[in-house]
Amino acid sequence: MQKHTFTISLFVGIFALTVLAQLGVINQYLQSVIMLMGVNIILSTSLNLVNGYMGEFSCGHGGFMCVGAYVTSVVTVLCFSKNHILGAPLLPPSMALFAFPIALFAGAAAAAVAGLVVAIPSFKTRGDYLAIITLAANYIVISAIDNLEIIGGPRGFMGMNAAVNGMEGIVDIPWMLLWVLFGTLFSVWLLRRFVSSTLGKGVPAIAQDEIAAEIMSVDTNRMKLIAFMLSSGIAGLAGGLFAHILGYVNPHSFDIMKSTEVMVMVYLGGMGSLSGATLSAVLFTVLLEVLRPLEIWKWVVIPLLLILLMQFRPEGIMGNKELSDLFPKLKKYYSFK
């Protein structure tokens, strides 16, 4: 039974949230906070694979999210929305339910390919120089989209609501909430399966000592390729979801500030801990909402908190341990695989 308790409670939780949202118990604002939380969880766990498990310093995660957001949006707008450049919708709105996951997948795949920009140089270099490459990649993505007039350039891109409306036209339930919850579950599950697999054990091995890992028959280049592409692909998924939650994307919402936010979440939670990254993403989203009345001071308080954290507990909230390592008794009640 304990093998399934966690899975069952997760699905019950998702079901309960959807029902509550449907009945209007959870209002729109709370729903959007929950959805942002989901997106943040996806982002922080995916960056944790590279910055935490693999010990690299990637500071351009926002760029991959941007690629995912734009590709997914272009696909859904192409299919379901009338756009003055991309033309009339290709599919009837009733197809939205099937096309949306495909669009999300396309966005994630495109982001994974964009991850190659970082993955290939990582064969030869690491540390500070790789950090610059990720940073430059972030700027290149944003700058490229700024210059693509066909998708709005610096003005942003919209029309994604058509796909969401199409889905709601079939069955009127809060579809975006459901997609975000399933997306979050899928990403965390995928990452968890990857890092605990035999193949995935190579990732922390690279973090510990790259040369030793290579001697121990870990194909480091292949591992790096997989880790970077997986991480950026999942970030692309987060981007696609994010774009459809807001119904509007702007390249500048994925700039270095976004990347910094994700880094804050990773280091707050602890490097190399998926439950830590999840927990810190939840905490961080709540913190952002609670501190909203502080307006701009919020962005003084949050960095200050992180600096204090670095001074007094540099390993983050969880260190590199999972929740079940810290509280072994919890193992009786759940196992998450």
Partner: protein, 306 residues
């Protein structure tokens, strides 16, 4: 003729990048620390220059001392450099040093630096508001024209300042005792204190040098483009950092070469293509250089001992 005009602009922009890149490279060379707050120290430098200048000159709703612009400039430059270096040293003392004492991983110091930069940016925005400050004119603009190329005295000052700073730093690092100590720390941080060299003093000195250069860049930038806003340091800082890395971070010649290279690339792109493509090309070229030569132009690949 237009070519020379662009060349001059490129030299001016390159000088700003080079001045900031020098600060990055100095701190990195000594501490192996990417001081991500450096771009924001540049911004703070520009603001300090603004306040000092307004205080001395008067205007902008403040009853200043009413000094003449020339005298104001003469006082503003050293005052800003000193005050900005104080900011840099404060960061070192309050944030980096405790971490260094604890022997924390380099990564944590880098994150602290990143966060310190955010605090400087947003703290400034919160304290001073979003209104942009316009910098008073301290130097009468003189335009010289040589056969179709017009040169303002300010542009010349900027380029000369960058080269002078480069020569000074190169001299300090390679010829003086304190420079030798800096190189020593970069070589082996653990053996140096055993040789009777005060580690912390040298590190503070490095921060003073780097931050005062950022302050100087701040004044010159504020004089050339007299609109100040809290986020002005972010993009220029990142670009200067990339310039430092392309030159080979930790190497003073590299910072100068990288800075000017970035200036030439940007102005070259703007001269041919629409100006919105500037960042795209600049970053792509730099990415290409790093792909081909991951240690930067002047960097030396290190071999790891097993």
């Amino acid at each position: 003729m237009e070519f020379f005009q662009h060349l001059l602009n490129a030299l001016q922009f390159g000088s700003f990048y080079a001045l900031i890149a020098l600060g990055y490279t100095l701190v990195y060379g000594v501490l192996r620390l990417i001081n991500f707050a450096h771009g924001d120290i540049f911004m703070v430098g520009a603001y300090i220059a603004y306040f000092v200048a307004v205080l001395l000159l008067g205007g902008e709703g403040m009853n200043g001392l009413g000094l003449s612009p020339g005298l104001t400039l003469a006082i503003t430059v050293p005052a800003t450099m000193i005050l900005t270096s104080l900011v840099g040293v404060t960061l070192e003392r309050t944030m980096y040093r405790p971490l260094r004492r604890k022997g924390a991983d380099r990564l944590y110091v880098v994150i602290t630096a990143l966060m310190a930069g955010l605090i400087l940016e947003n703290g400034n925005l919160a304290l001073l508001g979003a209104s942009r400050k316009s910098f008073p004119e301290l130097m009468e603009k003189v335009v010289w024209t040589f056969g179709g190329i017009s040169v303002t005295n300010l542009k010349l000052v900027v380029v000369v300042a960058a080269i002078a700073v480069f020569v000074l730093l190169e001299f300090i690092v390679s010829k003086t005792k304190i420079g030798m100590a800096m190189r020593g720390i970069s070589y082996d941080k653990f053996a140096i204190p055993l040789m009777g060299i005060p580690l912390d003093t040298i590190i503070v000195f490095t921060f003073i040098l780097g931050s005062s250069m950022a302050g100087l860049a701040g004044i010159l930038f504020a004089m050339s483009y007299p609109i100040l806003e809290p986020y002005m340091g972010a993009l220029i800082g990142w670009k200067a950092f990339i310039a430092a890395v392309v030159g080979g971070i930790g190497d003073i010649r590299g910072a100068i070469v990288g800075g000017f290279l970035l200036g030439f690339i940007e102005i070259g792109v703007v001269a041919v293509f629409p100006s919105t493509l500037r960042d795209l090309f600049a970053f792509s070229v730099l990415l290409g250089i790093l792909w081909l030569k991951p240690t930067g132009l002047f960097g030396v690949a290190k071999t790891t001992k097993i």
